[in-house]
Symmetry: C2
Subunit: 435 residues, 2 copies
Amino acid sequence: MWRYPGDRSADYTKLDHWIELARLFERGRFDAMFIADLVGYFDVYGGNVDSALRTASQLPINDPTTLVSAMAAATHDLGFGVTAGVFYEHPYTFARRMSSLDHITNGRVGWNVVTGYLPSALRNMGQQDIPHDKRYDYADEYIEVLYKLWEGSWEDDAVVRDKAHDVYADPAKVHPINHHGEFFDVPGIHLCEPSPQRTPVIFQAGGSPRGIRFAAENAEAIFVTGPTPELVAPTVRQIRDSLEAAGRGRYDARIFMMLTAITANTEQEAWDKYHDYERYASTEGALTLYSGWIGTDLSKYDLDQPLDDIESNAIQSTAANMQKVTGDDGRRWTVRDIAIRRAIGGNSPVVVGSGEQVADELQRIVELTDVDGFNLAYVTNPGTFEDIIDYVVPILQERGVYQTEYAPGTLRNKLFGAGDHLKPTHPGYRYKVSK
Amino acid sequence: MWRYPGDRSADYTKLDHWIELARLFERGRFDAMFIADLVGYFDVYGGNVDSALRTASQLPINDPTTLVSAMAAATHDLGFGVTAGVFYEHPYTFARRMSSLDHITNGRVGWNVVTGYLPSALRNMGQQDIPHDKRYDYADEYIEVLYKLWEGSWEDDAVVRDKAHDVYADPAKVHPINHHGEFFDVPGIHLCEPSPQRTPVIFQAGGSPRGIRFAAENAEAIFVTGPTPELVAPTVRQIRDSLEAAGRGRYDARIFMMLTAITANTEQEAWDKYHDYERYASTEGALTLYSGWIGTDLSKYDLDQPLDDIESNAIQSTAANMQKVTGDDGRRWTVRDIAIRRAIGGNSPVVVGSGEQVADELQRIVELTDVDGFNLAYVTNPGTFEDIIDYVVPILQERGVYQTEYAPGTLRNKLFGAGDHLKPTHPGYRYKVSK
């Protein structure tokens, strides 16, 4: 939607855009800015990268870790959920990068763990394809190395800064982690002194059974996605069950549901906005992303091709979902319908209405699904966020269901109110050298 | 020197420290802030990491790339020379990180290429030791991949942002680099659109013959170090000869000499400051770094041990240098002497005096050595820099030998006044897709 009047997505290379966005989010009392990332590019649609380049579909894409410090300096409480995959960097240097960000943000950083990848990324990094289940073994060991470095190397009081005796850190309280595993050997100490949170808040969005297990064992904030709240509710229950199965509390991970809200002064104005967005939606861009996700090249089909003629489980299930969402049983959905639906809101519910109406619907969804909050997607940037902050947030605040001030301390303390560090029930806690 | 009153080195985890430092440097019209880095730690002294931890000798150490955006947002012209070694990250993701930094700094970023490593770093990243000459083959290919990504993938006008035709980038102008080499296979396109400089300004500090060749072929800013200007002069000449041998102009790389200046209102006050520093100098810290550099564990010797009894080429050459620098032929230098000399100024000249005297000496050194400027080391942070900016810079500006305002544009244009991109004589230029 970079073409939409006033949209600033194409200013992604400018710091002032990010700084203003962070300030806007803080004004709206958002918990955190979640920054997606992708190493690699979508090249299924048309069999090449051309449509991704033409429509700027997650390409070009800069490194999100480079943005954090400027936004942190311009804000006081906003968290930063930075995405990074486990296949692209050695855990030893990645541990240092995240500790550094946690230091300079004063404990406001989260890590969105990605355990998948695009084949184009592996190809460009000289790696072979990794079988799906092996990926999680790799991710398990990757994060184990990180826990050992973040939690197990430096004791809480290792840094003494004793000027009189010329001692900055007490070597007796800094320990080599002696990790020797299937994928990694890391014998030494962590390069960073303990940061405010030690382990950054772990975000995850795994949807497969193995992904949910990984999330249940590691994540403290979990993103869920589904076309309707009714379809998301069982997933939330399943995640909370999995948290218990992993020895944690049902609410030891905050669950955020992806949702797109389009709002304005009145319902009519909100719908006008929605229809205006539709005029700018790029069908080619939407199909580029969707083709990449499902692994089927949709450029082979006419935009008016009915979906029921296409042999693909993913497409049939999308068509069935669209039927459920709209309640429109008789309609034959086409490739174009998918594209427009995907272009605005992706696979998540789109709520259109006045601030009052959107607030009502958000509250209904929380009741129905037991989610803790929302991962708010945008149609236009920063327009979608400005609208939510101006029209919806004040109403939720008046109703007493939305924070008017931030809780003190680190991002973890803001989310759970139980201190800066991993809870004793978190599997990473076992690696702690200071308990 | 973190123990010195007013020193802020120990605030390295706080953003405001870095932001204030950047603003100070910009006030002093410094070209760039050079941020050192080290993955790994010094563990030769005493055979372990204890003394490095105790004296905070380049440990703990955070990731310098995370600091840049906050400092860039707080300044307008200052450049940022970020250190990164070639052995720690795949060039595909490193290329993206540097392009991202170049974008958000508006073309103010430099990369200080490190081709060496500490054994502790390789050990913690599961790598074998690499023979010295093989290292440069690796570095050569590493930087070749980067040039191809930075210069050879996206044409200058690939990004068209044509709203009317829904085209962000023209795919016909974005090219896969098809790199297939001994160490890397990178078939695809760069993930980032062209940044202001494309290739960041290349900094280097190689001292070996192979290192000087690498610098002559790649660097645009070269750091030289030596105990006296007289000993540095031939190195500068050799580098300029090597630049010519590599088909470049003698002044196509700016040469910066490391130097420590201790200055105050009067010569006497400057010397008082120097002697005050000596009281705070950590002999253990200095010997930790020095032992690591020369590979000899100096903890085995008493501080009063004369150097001439120690069998080590490096130590004998250091002792000989100290003799030359001081002109003190009769003295038997001890381990303690080395430590104190190293603690203040390292292996570089230390100039002590009033602003006038320091300015005189800097001008004499430029005359004598043909260096383009100085890599100013610090004893205390930010004290050393404040003193130079308050006492020396105004005098040099009055004399017309120091910039009063920055040149416009990117760091490269500020350094050479010849545009934002690599010069045609630079070996990276041959990879350019837009000439």
